[in-house]
């Protein structure tokens, strides 16, 4: 299984190096992505390969490499190789390098899984795995609070988006009846016609937008810059954040080409592109500038998918590669600068070109590409973008140009302020050139950016294949760097010129931008996740779980009363009428009245002893009732139990003060009285209801008939207890034994620091818990104590 091995090799390598000895030999792990890159490059398109996994769910390990998948797989493995190469120099501690490489390889496996899945649910599985590995990488330096927060933020936002997407995926899967991607893509008409189309699209878009950092869910990406710079270059610029773009492209045949899809995607993408390109200027941290400009470019790509024409799709495909190359190189450069100068703050560095020549060369090529200046690859990307945009509204074109101007400006600013001028006095480290291993990676990316425009025929076929897999019509595409002086070219030149002009005016412009409100949604996240959620949760939990047993009991009993009343009303049964109450004789009635009196006496008794006595009378009356109804066995047993429990009560309450220590307030007493009476009334009603609704013949005559023949005994009760239903008795005596074990255990075993006799410390019993805390304050028994607080 070739395709499966594409995933298994990096995954296995990721696990393995974590367990192998950590030394400089670990660096050879870069062979893994390099080999994969060559494999993907040489294998071309591969049709679906299926291994059965969870047939009950219709989830198989179905993998395929079409043009789109292959295009992304090349970027994933190619950039991955260079990033691992760079990281070998970036991490001086081999243990750190191994951890980084391990996470990165696992991420690579997951990311390849996304682009190669031929099953939508399988794709989702890998989708979430990239979020998890990203979490681990952002939190790489987890001693730092910012790193932990950034990691959490990224996982909450992308994971939350993923959940929305999951709902969308299920909606589509249920509609089509399959999660097989080919089936879903072939049934686009059915999906679009179904009632759940609109919610499904919105849900999937939320997932894609969260992953690809579209406004207003973009803010996690700048936060993710806490990751080690190679990880930022790889995950948060070149690959993972493009997963959302990939998904939109992948699902385009199934859910695209409708006003709701294209409208939303175009609008969100364009707004993000413009917003983030301007917002990037407010930043002074190199990585933050790069992060916002990444968000901006992701917006552009999203927007291009939303346009949905052949030209715009082509622009998106080219743009993915162009961006991966130049932005990857620039991120790595930022890492090198941080490494060399001890800071990434663009306002504290300068003149680095003097000492970091090789780094500068790579960076300048990448920066020029980012600025869209010919003849670099970035220029081609912008050209195709403008061609795509020009088919539509002039306003759209204008906005695209605005975004392009600010991107040019950002690129120039990065290059100039880092490398030109003189080295400031207060720079934290005296800068030096980084190791060759570190400058070679961006340099290679730069070289590709530089060479590719002149060998465009090499990528004609892959780009065409990728466009075909999205648009599902044969598309022959030939890329040309320079197509003559036409509208896109002129607009492009205008953008570059404007960028250069603004660059000259950058200081007042940045100051101006910093003063206008930023519309940044991360403050909303902070307010909700950082404060409202934990605060609200604590507030609510303190109300619900308030530590008072009497409140708990009241709520539970009230629930019972409420539900029973409702149901009794609903069934509208002639409860009382159906039951034969007339048969009751005066004797029974008298016992019942006495029972009520005894119950009241128990509750109202002023002392514990009196309450016990009343309870004993209550029990005796019940056994009398049994006797009246001809159950001498029960009556006698009940009586014996009453006697024994009376003794137990006396022995137990011996440990407690005779009078009740706390008196409830009037309101509480009233509440308790109401609830208790209601329970009594409802229980009575329930019994009458059941008695009046004996809907089926009872099985009890069988016991009477079979007592002697089967059970060899004339006492039916006894035969039932020890023979017919002996199993229950077996269980019940076990209960008794366990109870006895509990009594003994509780009395004999207590913490060593708790002397005997504390159960009796009536003096200290009060509502204040003082230093000599009794082990069992009376409040607990009476339900007035507090649990430990909730947090």
């Amino acid at each position: 299984m070739l395709l499966l091995s594409f995933l298994l090799i990096p995954a296995a390598a990721g696990f393995l190096i974590a367990f192998l000895p950590r030394n400089s030999f670990s660096r050879w792990v870069i062979a893994v992505p390099a080999v994969l890159f060559l494999l993907v490059l040489t294998s071309g398109e591969i049709p679906t390969q299926v291994i059965s996994w969870i047939p009950s769910l219709g989830v198989d390990l179905a993998l395929a490499m079409d043009g789109l998948g292959s295009w992304f797989a090349l970027i994933i493995t190619g950039v991955g190789t260079l990033v691992l190469l760079y990281a070998a120099g970036y991490f001086e501690d081999p243990a750190k390098y191994v951890r980084f490489a391990s996470y990165t390889l696992l991420f690579m496996a997951a990311m390849l899984g996304i682009v190669l899945s031929a099953n939508l649910l399988l794709l989702f599985v890998f989708w979430e795995l990239t979020s998890v590995t990203s979490y681990l990488l952002i939190g790489f330096y987890h001693e730092r609070e910012e790193a932990r927060d950034g990691a959490r933020r990224a996982l909450i936002v992308t994971g939350g988006g993923g959940l929305a997407m999951l709902a969308g995926v299920i909606l589509i899967g249920v509609t089509v009846g399959s999660f097989d991607l080919e089936t879903i893509l072939a049934n686009g008409e059915q999906i679009k016609a179904s009632a759940v189309y609109a919610p499904a699209v919105i849900l999937i878009l939320i997932g894609a937008f969260a992953k690809s950092a579209q406004y207003p869910l973009h803010f996690w990406l700048p936060g993710a810059m806490e990751a080690p710079t190679p990880a930022s270059a790889y995950l948060h610029s070149a690959t993972m954040v493009k997963a959302g773009i990939f998904l939109l492209a992948r699902l385009y045949p199934a859910i695209g080409d409708t006003p709701i899809f294209n409208g939303t995607v175009t609008a969100v993408g364009l707004f993000t592109a413009v917003y983030a390109s301007i917002y990037a200027l407010r930043q002074s941290d190199l990585k933050a500038i790069l992060a916002y400009s990444t968000v901006s470019w992701l917006g552009t790509l999203t927007f291009l998918i939303g346009l949905g024409t052949k030209d715009s799709i082509k622009a998106a495909i080219v743009g993915v590669l162009a961006h991966a190359l130049y932005k990857g190189a620039l991120f790595l450069t930022a890492g090198s600068i941080d490494h060399a100068a001890g800071t990434r703050d663009i306002e504290r560095i300068g003149g680095l070109g003097r000492v970091m020549r090789f780094t500068m060369i790579g960076a300048v090529i990448a920066g020029i590409s980012m600025a869209g200046i010919p003849p670099l690859f970035g220029f081609l990307a912008k050209e195709t973008l403008l061609v795509g945009a020009l088919e539509f509204d002039p306003i759209i074109t204008a906005l695209v140009i605005v975004s392009a101007i600010f991107t040019t400006l950002a690129a120039l600013r990065i290059l100039w302020d880092s490398f030109a001028g003189s080295i400031p006095e207060d720079i934290p480290h005296k800068p030096h050139e980084v190791s060759p291993i570190m400058w070679s990676a961006p340099l290679i990316m730069g070289a590709v950016t530089l060479i590719l425009p002149f060998t465009l025929t090499v990528i004609d076929r892959p780009v065409s294949a990728a466009v075909e897999s999205i648009r599902r019509v044969p598309s022959e595409i030939h890329l040309h760097l320079f197509e003559g002086i036409n509208t896109p070219f002129i607009l492009s030149m205008i953008a570059i010129t404007a960028g250069i002009v603004l660059f000259a005016l950058r200081r007042p412009l940045i100051n101006l931008l910093r003063r206008i409100p930023g519309l940044n949604t991360s403050s909303i996240y902070d307010a909700v996740i950082g404060r409202a959620l934990p605060g609200g949760a604590l507030f609510l939990t303190d109300i619900v779980q308030n530590g008072k047993l009497r409140n708990y009991i009241s709520i539970i009993v009230a629930s019972f009363v409420g539900l029973m009343l409702t149901l009794l009303i609903i069934i509208d049964n002639e409860i009382l009428g159906a039951s034969d109450l007339a048969g009751a004789d005066i004797q029974t009635a008298l016992i019942c009245i006495l029972l009520i009196v005894a119950a009241l006496a128990t509750v109202l008794a002023p002392t514990r002893l009196a309450a016990i006595a009343a309870l004993g009378i209550e029990g005796a009356l019940v056994s009398l009732l049994f006797a009246v109804f001809g159950a001498p066995d029960l009556a006698f047993t009940q009586l014996m139990i009453e006697v024994v429990s009376l003794i137990l009560f006396v022995l137990a309450f011996h440990f407690l003060p005779d009078t009740f220590s706390t008196r409830a307030s009037r309101i509480r007493q009233l509440r308790d009285l109401t609830l208790a009476s209601l329970v009594g009334v409802i229980m009575a009603a329930l019994v009458l209801m059941a008695d009046g609704n004996r809907l089926f013949p009872s099985i009890s005559p069988w016991y009477v008939e079979n007592s002697i023949p089967r059970g060899q005994g004339a006492n039916i009760v006894n035969v039932i207890v020890i023979d017919f239903r002996g199993m229950d008795t077996q269980g019940e005596i076990l209960v008794l034994v366990i109870a006895a074990m509990g009594v003994v255990g509780l009395l004999r075993l207590r913490p060593v620091d708790q002397p005997r006799g504390q159960y009796l410390e009536t003096d200290t019993v009060s509502n204040q818990v003082d230093d000599a805390e009794p082990s069992l304050p009376i409040e607990w028994l009476e339900g007035n104590s507090e649990e430990e607080p909730n947090s």
Binding site: F636, I641, H654, A714, L747
Partner: protein, 144 residues
């Protein structure tokens, strides 16, 4: 705890009667009101009386019966009665009756349900006494 002489005498006198009664309840239970459960309670009440009269320490040292052990044996005996049915018949708790006629006593009704009932008797007896003794013991220690 102060214990009156009269109460001690009463408890002592009652004890054999109650024990006899309890066995009587157990044996006749299968055909007339009674049975292992109530029998066990009655039997236990004799020891409970003694405990209240003489104190748990004295009762324990004189009787030399480990009631906590006994209660476990009760459940075990009941389970054995059930297992006999499983082993010699077809299912758990299935009854096996054995009714020998012995001169001078009459027909004996021996069966696994009776054995089961005996288990119940022992368990209830043991549980009740164990709990009461443990609690009385506790209150005695408090008083010291």
């Amino acid at each position: 705890m102060t214990r009156s002489l009269f109460f001690k005498f009463l408890a002592r006198a009652m004890m054999p009667i109650l024990i006899l009664f309890s066995i009587f309840f157990l044996l006749r239970g299968h055909n007339q009101p009674g049975g292992g459960f109530v029998g066990g309670l009655v039997g236990a009440s004799s020891i409970v009386l003694m405990t209240l009269a003489y104190g748990p320490a004295e009762v324990a040292s004189r009787l030399r019966i480990d009631f906590r052990r006994a209660m476990f044996w009760g459940v075990i005996v009941a389970a054995i009665a059930g297992l006999l049915g499983l082993i010699f018949q077809s299912s758990f708790l299935e009854s096996i009756w054995f009714k020998p006629y012995i001169d001078g006593i009459g027909k004996l009704e021996l069966g696994t349900p009776a054995l089961f009932d005996t288990g119940v008797y022992i368990a209830v007896f043991g549980v009740t006494v164990s709990i009461v003794m443990a609690m009385a013991d506790e209150s005695d220690r408090e008083a010291e």
